[in-house]
């Protein structure tokens, strides 16, 4: 073997070994994992933007892509919220504090919050789609004076499916955020709204004037919530969402997450509806 100049030190496939610091059970199917790189130097130089994703791996099982849902100001750990669904997510759900994982991050683009200064923002999260909303919303709340009115509409199937229960009281009482929670069907002792997100959104009827809509959730929710925003007069360039695709490399090479000529892992996951209109309809 000869010497070569392959730039191994910047190998994008090589994960950082990280330790699970804390596991939070959010719902029957969702857990949040707070992790920190073992290599102090790598951790201290690690920065990311709200909306960027990471490849979280259990060694011997595999990698999966999740959004980093802490705001970048959090210097003690990064948090991934994982819904148990397949092989890798099931292995992640078995992790305990002290366990080792692999992290490749940050990957992808981020919410264009620099362009939102002085504007009102309506955040809409459905189910696990609240994870990307959490990172950008917390970031914007930290800089609330730079923005207009901030509001959140968060919906889940039932009260127990609602994640981030530890955050909810703070969000409901916040001076800078107007929070509305909703569940799909009536449940005992539920003091908040009942109804599907698009319907509740139409009832709340936020004004489209000088306002950005940020929505994340399952495809069916996105479809109808997008329609609701359009009905309320929001322009497509002011509706921002994040896309999901099966991903492997996370760096725009392995070829599977493309939407037309764009790679969701590299050019996304954050797109405006106006940008999506330009891409082939292959959702």
């Amino acid at each position: 073997m000869s010497e070569h100049n392959c730039g191994c030190s910047k190998n994008p496939y090589l994960p950082e070994v990280a330790t699970v610091l804390e596991v939070i059970t959010e719902s029957p199917t969702i857990k949040s994992f707070r992790v920190r790189f073992d290599n102090e130097e790598a951790w201290n130089s690690f920065t990311y933007q709200p909306g960027q994703v990471g490849q979280l791996s259990v060694f011997g099982v595999g990698e999966s892509t999740f959004v980093i849902n802490t705001p970048p100001s959090c210097k003690d750990y990064i948090q991934f919220s994982v819904m148990r669904a397949g092989e890798v997510t099931s292995a992640i759900h078995k992790l305990q504090p002290g366990d080792k994982v692999g992290v490749r991050a940050p990957l992808g683009n981020y919410f264009p919050y620099e362009q939102w200064k002085g504007k009102n923002i309506v955040f809409v999260g459905g189910g696990i789609g609240m994870a990307p909303i959490r990172t950008i919303m917390l970031h914007v709340m930290e800089h609330a004076p730079e923005y207009g009115k901030l509001s959140l509409l968060y919906g889940a199937r039932s009260p127990e499916d609602m994640a981030y229960k530890a955050d909810l009281p703070g969000w409901l009482e916040s001076d800078v955020l107007h929070t509305t929670l909703t569940i799909d069907r009536e449940a005992p002792n539920w003091p908040h709204r009942v109804g599907m997100i698009p319907n509740v959104l139409k009832e709340l009827a936020p004004s489209p004037d000088n306002t950005i809509a940020v929505l994340c959730g399952p495809p069916i929710m996105i479809k109808f919530t997008l329609a609701a925003f359009r009905e309320l007069g929001f322009k497509d360039e002011n509706i921002i969402t994040t896309l999901e695709r099966r991903m492997k490399c996370g760096i725009g090479i392995c070829g599977r997450c493309n939407l037309g000529g764009k790679y969701v892992c590299l050019d996304g996951p954050v797109f405006s509806q106006a940008q999506l209109n330009e891409l082939p309809p292959e959702m």
Partner: protein
């Protein structure tokens, strides 16, 4: 042409045999019904039949840079003596490349690496495994003596003596081969080889290149192919018709010199395991199947649409109009149900849709598998395959600048020049 050298067949194999002491020499070899690139020893090369080394391989040589399966990371963990439930995990990166000579590529194959370079090396992230092999590999390409019926490099801005991607291009002439050194890497390889100067053989080389260009069927009018293929995206009926016979076997993607897709999987356990990269195929339904059960490309029509669109629309849109197809025709030759990407592209551009009865049968894979020297193009059933005499008279007009105007390779433009 710069630096031209002449080698007899014996000198050429002798040179390769000498190179084998310092390089891994990959060259075509007959294995069963297929011709494949394999590392060959000095003894094998010294005694090799030159014709066997000049056969076109059944599969592309992309495995020289991208092995079908390779280890990206190995991991080992040690249990804590105090608390065995705690592990210390260390990772190792086996990224290494051996100095390699890739001998006997065709111009389309060499150009395939130029297509792969863009996503693998020229983006925001660089692939160190591919990069290391690319750096360590010298590509010695054979100018095609004549075209196969499945060849269509002239559709995508190339030609049978295209130098793009090659370090050395050699051309068969009377009594031996003329080697044209294209890059410094190529120059280093012929240093001290003792080949004679071949400046007096320029006319022979040009005649050979012209004859090869003339043996290709003329390319159809492909102006605006990028836009036209893109505009077919929502024409579901078109793609369904084109893929009626498709088995989703993925042979087209595995043999393709430009197909870049792979998957990453883990093997072993956290205590002792590795993360592998393996070729994957966009033609299989699992490729895009999400954990939730949602699949953005559930049907074979969706997948073929993505494959053809990627090569003729998405990739050129991303990379300055350069196609992600080099026209080698392997997907045409080896498709078990005789699907032909040329028919799909042509139909997409011309606005007509073919039923599978219209699609002319491709040549049988056996034609290229028999260990005979390369045969000239067998009769192509499509009428445009008949070489026109004017092409032979003006072969140079068929060589558009590939980067600047890949879409300028149309018949009409070539004739005007």
């Amino acid at each position: 042409m710069s630096s031209l050298l002449f080698a007899t067949p014996k000198e050429l194999t002798g040179w390769l045999a000498k190179l084998a002491s310092g390089y891994r020499v990959l060259a075509p070899r007959q294995e069963g019904p297929s011709v494949v690139y394999r590392p060959q020893t000095a003894e094998q090369l010294a005694s090799a039949d030159i014709d066997a080394l000049l056969r076109r391989a059944t599969a592309s040589p992309k495995q020289a840079m991208l092995p079908q399966c390779e280890t990206l990371v190995t991991f080992k963990s040690v249990k804590d003596a105090e608390d065995p439930s705690k592990l210390t995990t260390t990772l190792e990166n086996p990224c290494q490349a051996e100095p390699t000579v890739l001998f006997g590529c065709r111009p389309c194959d060499a150009r395939g690496f130029v297509v792969l370079d863009r996503p693998y090396l020229e983006g925001k992230f660089k692939d160190p495994y591919y990069g290391a092999r690319r750096e360590a590999t010298v590509i010695v390409t054979q100018a095609c003596p004549s075209a196969f019926a499945s060849c269509f490099c002239n559709w995508v801005g190339s030609h049978p003596s295209d130098k793009e991607g090659s370090d050395i291009l050699f051309t068969a002439v009377e009594g031996g081969f003329v080697l044209e050194v294209v890059t410094d890497k190529g120059q280093a390889l012929v240093e001290g080889a003792g080949f004679a100067d071949a400046a007096d053989k320029v006319a022979d080389v040009e005649a050979a290149h012209a004859a090869a260009a003339a043996s290709l069927a003329p390319a159809p009018e492909l102006t605006h192919v990028m836009e036209k293929v893109a505009s077919r995206f929502t024409d579901t009926e078109f793609w369904e018709k084109e893929t009626v016979k498709c088995l989703s076997c993925g042979a087209c993607t595995y043999l393709c010199p430009t197909c870049q897709c792979f998957t990453i999987t883990d093997e072993g356990s956290q205590l002792d395991g590795r993360r592998l990269r393996s070729w994957d195929s966009c033609m299989t339904p699992l490729f895009t199947l999400e954990t939730s059960g949602h699949n953005p490309r559930p049907s074979k029509a969706d997948r073929m649409r993505n494959r053809v669109s990627h090569k003729f629309s998405f990739y050129p849109e991303r990379y300055d109009g350069f196609f992600s197809c080099v026209g080698c025709g392997r997907c045409v030759v080896s498709c078990p149900v005789s699907l032909d990407i040329r028919h799909m592209v042509k139909a997409a551009v011309e606005g007509s849709s073919l039923t599978f009865d219209d699609a002319a049968p491709a040549e049988s894979p056996a034609v290229e598998a028999v260990p005979a020297p390369e045969a000239p193009a067998v009769a192509e059933p499509a009428p445009e395959a008949v070489a026109e005499p004017e092409q032979a008279a003006a072969p140079k007009a068929q060589k558009p600048a590939p980067k600047a105007a890949p879409r300028a390779s149309s018949k009409s433009k070539a004739k005007k020049r």
